[in-house]
C-alpha cells in the first residue's frame, strides 16, 4: 500500500479544515464554526463527489502551496481563486469550479482569493483527521477541532486515508456575484440608538476594517449614537448579529464568534446574505437595508433553492 499525502510547502494566511460545523454547544460557549461561505463549501465537495459535509481546506486571502505525493487523486477549488497547477514540470493557471486530476509530485499553488476573502479546496478522498463533537472544523480561539485546533502550518503533511475512485471530470459555470447591500432585520436593542444613529445605520456607507477574521467583522464609518446604555446584561449572540460597542463602530459576529455578548444589537444580517457578507474584503463598502422577517424567510428559500440547483447541475 502506498502512502498518499499532501505536503504543505507554504501554509497561507489562515488555512484551516472546515465542514458544516457543530450544533447544540452554544450553552457551553462553543459556536457553530464551519465553512464561512456555505455555498462554495458545498459546491467544492460536490465537484469531487464527496459527501456534502466532508472536510475541506478553507483559506483566506493567500492560500497554501501544496505538493502531492501518491496515487492519482481528484481536487476542485471554489470561490474566486487565482491558482496555478504544476504537472510534469509544466505550470498553468487553473479554473475554479472544475476538477483536476493530480498525480505524484504535482503542485497546487493557491495564489489569492481575488477580490474576496475565502476559498475552498476539496479533495476527492477521505482525509485523516480528528473530529470533535462530530466536526473537524478548526476553531483556533478555543483550540477545538482537527489539527489540535490550530491553523495549518508550513511543512506539515495532510494524510489521505482513502481516495475516491470516481475521477470523472466535472465543471460548473458559476460566477460569484457581488452584493450591493447587506439586508438586515432590526435587532432587539434597536431602540437604544438615537434617530440620527438609526438614520446613519441605514443610509450611510461603512468600510470593512482590517480587524476582521472568522470571529467577527469590524466596520468603520460615521459613529452610531447610543442614547440608552452602551452595555446590556450579557446574553446570547449569533452569527450575523451586529453589535454597537461604546465607540459607535459596528461589529458583525461571524462563524467563530464568542457565544455571549454585552453590547446592544442594532440589527441582524439575514441568513440569505451571510455567504456574500463574509466574502467582503477589508476596504469594501457596506450599506445596510432593512427587511421584514417574512421577506428574510422568503429570501432564504430562494437562496437555498439556487444552491440546490447549482449542486444538481454538477
Amino acid at each position: 500500500m502506498s502512502k498518499n499525502y499532501f505536503k504543505i510547502i507554504r501554509a497561507g494566511i489562515n488555512t484551516t479544515f472546515q465542514d458544516l460545523g457543530r450544533e447544540n454547544l452554544y450553552h457551553i460557549g462553543i459556536p457553530f464554526s464551519g465553512a464561512m461561505d456555505n455555498r462554495n463549501y458545498l459546491l467544492s465537495n460536490k465537484l469531487v463527489k464527496n459527501d456534502l459535509n466532508s472536510p475541506v481546506i478553507e483559506f483566506a486571502y493567500q492560500g497554501p502551496l501544496l505538493k502531492y505525493h501518491g496515487d492519482k487523486i481528484n481536487i476542485a477549488i471554489t470561490g474566486n481563486v487565482k491558482f496555478r497547477l504544476k504537472k510534469n514540470h509544466k505550470v498553468f493557471e487553473g479554473n475554479c469550479y472544475e476538477t483536476y486530476l493530480l498525480e505524484d509530485e504535482d503542485e497546487i499553488d493557491l495564489l489569492s482569493t481575488n477580490k474576496s476573502v475565502y476559498g475552498y479546496l476539496a479533495i476527492g478522498a477521505e482525509i485523516d483527521l480528528e473530529f470533535q463533537w462530530k466536526s473537524c472544523s478548526i476553531n483556533t480561539k478555543a483550540k477545538i477541532g482537527s489539527n489540535d485546533g490550530k491553523k495549518i502550518v508550513n511543512g506539515q503533511e495532510i494524510q489521505i486515508k482513502k481516495i475516491s475512485k470516481d475521477f470523472s471530470k466535472k465543471k460548473l459555470n458559476y460566477l460569484n456575484s457581488k452584493i450591493e447591500k447587506i439586508r438586515v432585520i432590526k435587532g432587539t436593542n434597536y431602540d437604544y440608538f438615537s434617530d440620527k444613529g438609526k438614520k446613519i445605520f441605514f443610509e450611510k456607507e461603512f468600510i470593512v476594517s482590517k480587524l476582521s477574521d472568522r470571529m467577527g467583522m469590524r466596520l468603520e464609518g460615521p459613529k452610531i449614537e447610543n442614547i440608552v446604555d452602551t452595555n446590556i446584561k450579557s446574553e446570547g449572540i449569533l452569527k450575523g448579529v451586529i453589535q454597537i460597542p461604546a465607540d459607535g463602530n459596528p461589529i458583525i459576529m461571524l462563524s467563530d464568534h464568542g457565544t455571549i455578548g454585552g453590547y446592544p444589537k442594532i440589527a441582524v444580517v439575514i441568513s440569505a446574505d451571510y455567504d456574500k457578507l463574509v466574502q467582503l474584503m477589508p476596504g469594501s463598502k457596506i450599506k445596510f437595508q432593512e427587511v421584514e422577517l417574512s421577506s428574510a424567510e422568503t429570501l432564504f428559500k430562494l437562496y437555498d433553492l439556487e444552491t440546490q440547483n447549482l449542486i444538481s447541475q454538477i
Binding site: N24, Y26, H27, A142, G149, S234, L238, I260, S271
Partner: protein
C-alpha cells in the same frame, strides 16, 4: 416568568424573562433550557441561556419562527422539580504575581487586600451561565462593596486560569483570551476540557461554586 418572545434575526427566537438578574429568574431560564434540551425539538440547533434571556436558534431549512414560537408558547415547564446542581470547590492563588489587578481593586473598592480576599473567599457563588469563550462560568453575586467596573482598557491577553471580577459577577478564563475583568487570582484547575466531549465544562449553569485560597507553593504543586 417568560415575558416576551420575539425574533433575533431570521433564525432565532429571543425569549425575554425581564430585566432583573437574580437566582429565581435565572433558574427559570435554566428550567426552560433543560426542558427544551431534553425534548430535542426538530429544527432547533442551539440554545443559549443567559442571566435572564434564552436564545433558541433553529435551522431555517427545516422550520421557521412561527413554528418554533408556537411550540415554546405551549410548552409545559416543570417548576417544582429541584434543579440538579453540583457544589464545586475551586482552588485560587492570589499571590502578587497572579492577582494582576489587586492594587487597582484596592483603590476602586476602597478596601485593603486582606478585606477583599476575606470577602471573596467567604461567599458561595451561583453559576448563572457559561460561555463567551468555551466553558467560562459567570458566577454571582458579589457583595455590594466588592463591585467594580471593567478595566478602562481591556487586556489583550488575560492568562489562562485567571479569576476576574466585574460588577456583581466573578468569572474564570478557561484559556488565554482578551478581556477586561479585574483579575484577583488564578486557578490551576482545568475548568474546560475539550477532550471530554460529554462533559467538557467543570462548572455548569445552576451549580454552586466556592473558592478555596491556596498559596503559591500549593499552586505550583498542583498537578492537572
Amino acid at each position: 416568568m417568560l415575558k416576551n418572545i420575539s425574533n433575533l434575526g431570521d433564525a432565532a427566537l429571543y425569549c425575554d424573562f425581564g430585566n432583573e438578574v437574580n437566582k429565581e429568574v435565572n433558574s427559570l431560564v435554566i428550567r426552560y433550557f433543560k426542558t427544551l434540551k431534553l425534548k430535542k425539538i426538530d429544527g432547533i440547533n442551539n440554545l443559549t441561556p443567559s442571566y435572564n434571556k434564552l436564545i433558541i436558534s433553529y435551522d431555517l431549512k427545516r422550520t421557521n419562527y412561527k413554528n418554533i414560537k408556537k411550540i415554546i408558547e405551549n410548552i409545559t415547564i416543570d417548576q417544582k422539580e429541584n434543579l440538579s446542581s453540583n457544589k464545586i470547590e475551586i482552588p485560587v492563588c492570589c499571590d502578587e504575581t497572579l492577582s494582576l489587578d489587586i492594587k487597582r481593586l484596592e483603590k476602586k473598592l476602597n478596601l485593603n487586600r486582606d478585606k477583599i480576599f476575606d470577602n471573596f473567599f467567604a461567599k458561595e457563588y451561583f453559576c448563572y451561565m457559561t460561555g463567551f469563550i468555551a466553558g467560562m462560568p459567570f458566577l454571582g453575586d458579589l457583595d455590594d462593596k466588592m463591585r467594580a467596573k471593567r478595566l478602562e482598557t481591556p487586556r489583550v491577553k488575560v492568562p489562562k486560569g485567571s479569576v476576574g471580577l466585574t460588577e456583581q459577577f466573578a468569572n474564570i478564563y478557561t484559556f488565554e483570551s482578551p478581556g477586561g475583568w479585574n483579575i484577583i487570582g488564578n486557578s490551576p484547575l482545568r475548568i474546560f476540557n475539550s477532550k471530554k466531549e460529554k462533559k467538557p465544562n467543570l462548572i455548569n449553569p445552576g451549580d454552586t461554586v466556592v473558592f478555596k485560597k491556596i498559596n503559591i507553593d500549593q499552586y505550583n504543586e498542583y498537578n492537572e
